[in-house]
Symmetry: C2
Subunit: 273 residues, 2 copies
């Protein structure tokens, strides 16, 4: 177990305790689904995000843009992702910012993704694929001011194809979880991804990692059950989860009400800490 | 075995046969390593790439920019990546264009990365991580005009951490290779990544995949041996490899001469087809 935790994890913990919420809103702001009033703006994705942030910030501990939805529009989209991140850092400096990049490349390239996401975009945390192993993502692991979130068991249909292959009596995703908690996390800056759509696996990951916080996507449009996630995923402090909904909130008829409802459910599980 | 091959693979084959080269130049145009004369330009990475392309195009079958090196500069870098891709498509339409994005996300996000890389950037091929399984990357696999290059055994130190875990008597990277060749490749649009730094594994991948072309990074700065790669990696047609060097060429004292030397070595292995 690491002696300390990263500055960014402290930020997350403070925010969770302040507003009693584990909710992360995924800013997967698909240009083709934006309400028409934003399409005439100079920066449609940014303006939409700003609106979503105004509607939801009181209920969230984190925001999580996925770069794919911005890259799809080329450099213009990347500019609006930057604007969104700058806006969040300026106006809501206590909200935890995850860039859900799922990058995974050799060491010298990892340094570039690090500059892109942790420095230039100013994210507190980045999601990474484990496929290339620890050495490849060492530049990330060395950043004790940030959080590295490693994919263990993902939320998608078909996740089992390779993640569930059994090696030495346990599936690959358990090897990943074990390595991250026992070896990669020496600076106390790691988290894992465990999909809400696979609560059985989430429960096992909780047993493997102890108190380590988990990012749990898949509540909302992907069908994961919020209460089940809370029942099986919380750590011994009734904390340790960042539960994400993207489309289920941002494209809801009333995003504010949707976020509020989810936070209300969470509150009943969190108690006072 | 698929009955047909994708249009993009035909383009690659035509180029290989036309110039007798399997060389791919990786446009990993690290801003901090650009020669000083480019730093005063309005678009330094693009101008550097244009110069590298002028120096090397006669000797290459493919170019392979890695988006990390552009994202590190934010939207300005992404713009110069777009300019580079547009330039290549306009002036060298018969050269195969790989964007080495190593993306891997759930299905709805894959659609966005597809728009970003295959449509907006106009790449012929994209590299993808296998970790989320086939269903997650179905939007890519459905594109019979393009090529999907799946990571099997990567070139980096530490690649073995998860890729070499043994399941049912064989390592994960062999499971990936087998699945891609027997199941994912029904439209004849798949390739695999096999690192030049692990020739033993490259040889086995060749045995598993038959004639399927392989992208082989790791020659040059990473230390892979070109002749060994050619000896163990070529298919029965003396083809089937795209061998990449990035830093070893683009930051060489004389990039043209470096590319020329590599192509000369390749020629002796290719014979006439």
């Amino acid at each position: 177990m690491p002696k300390a935790i990263s500055l960014a994890l402290e930020k997350l913990n403070d925010r969770v305790n302040k507003i009693n919420s584990l909710l992360c809103v995924g800013l997967d702001s698909d240009f083709n689904r934006l309400p028409s009033q934003f399409l005439t703006k100079k920066h449609p994705q940014f303006e939409f995000n700003r609106w979503i942030i105004e509607q939801t910030h009181s209920y969230v501990c984190a925001y999580k843009p996925n770069p794919a939805f911005y890259e799809a529009r080329g450099y213009q989209g990347w500019l609006e992702l930057e604007m969104t991140m700058q806006y969040l850092q300026s106006y809501y400096p206590d909200i935890f910012l995850i860039v859900d990049a799922k990058r995974g490349d050799i060491g010298s390239t990892s340094e570039q993704y690090l500059m892109a996401v942790l420095d230039k975009l100013g994210a507190d945390a980045i999601t990474l694929s484990p496929y290339l192993g620890k050495i490849a993502i060492k530049p990330f692991l060395a950043r004790k001011d940030k959080v590295i979130i490693v994919l263990a068991r993902t939320s998608n249909p078909g996740a089992e194809e390779f993640q569930d292959l059994m090696a030495n009596g346990k599936p690959i995703w358990q090897h990943v979880a074990k390595q991250v908690v026992t070896d990669w996390n020496s600076l106390g800056n790691c988290m894992l991804v465990a999909g809400a759509t696979y609560p059985h696996e989430l429960k096992i990951i909780r047993q493997i990692v102890g108190e380590m916080p988990l990012l749990v996507p898949g509540v909302g449009a992907q069908g994961g059950d919020l209460k089940v996630v809370l029942q099986v995923g919380l750590n011994s402090q009734n904390r340790g989860l960042v539960i994400n909904s993207s489309r289920g909130i941002i494209f809801a008829k009333d995003p504010q009400n949707e976020a509020k409802k989810i936070q209300a459910t969470m509150k009943t599980f969190l108690g006072t800490n």
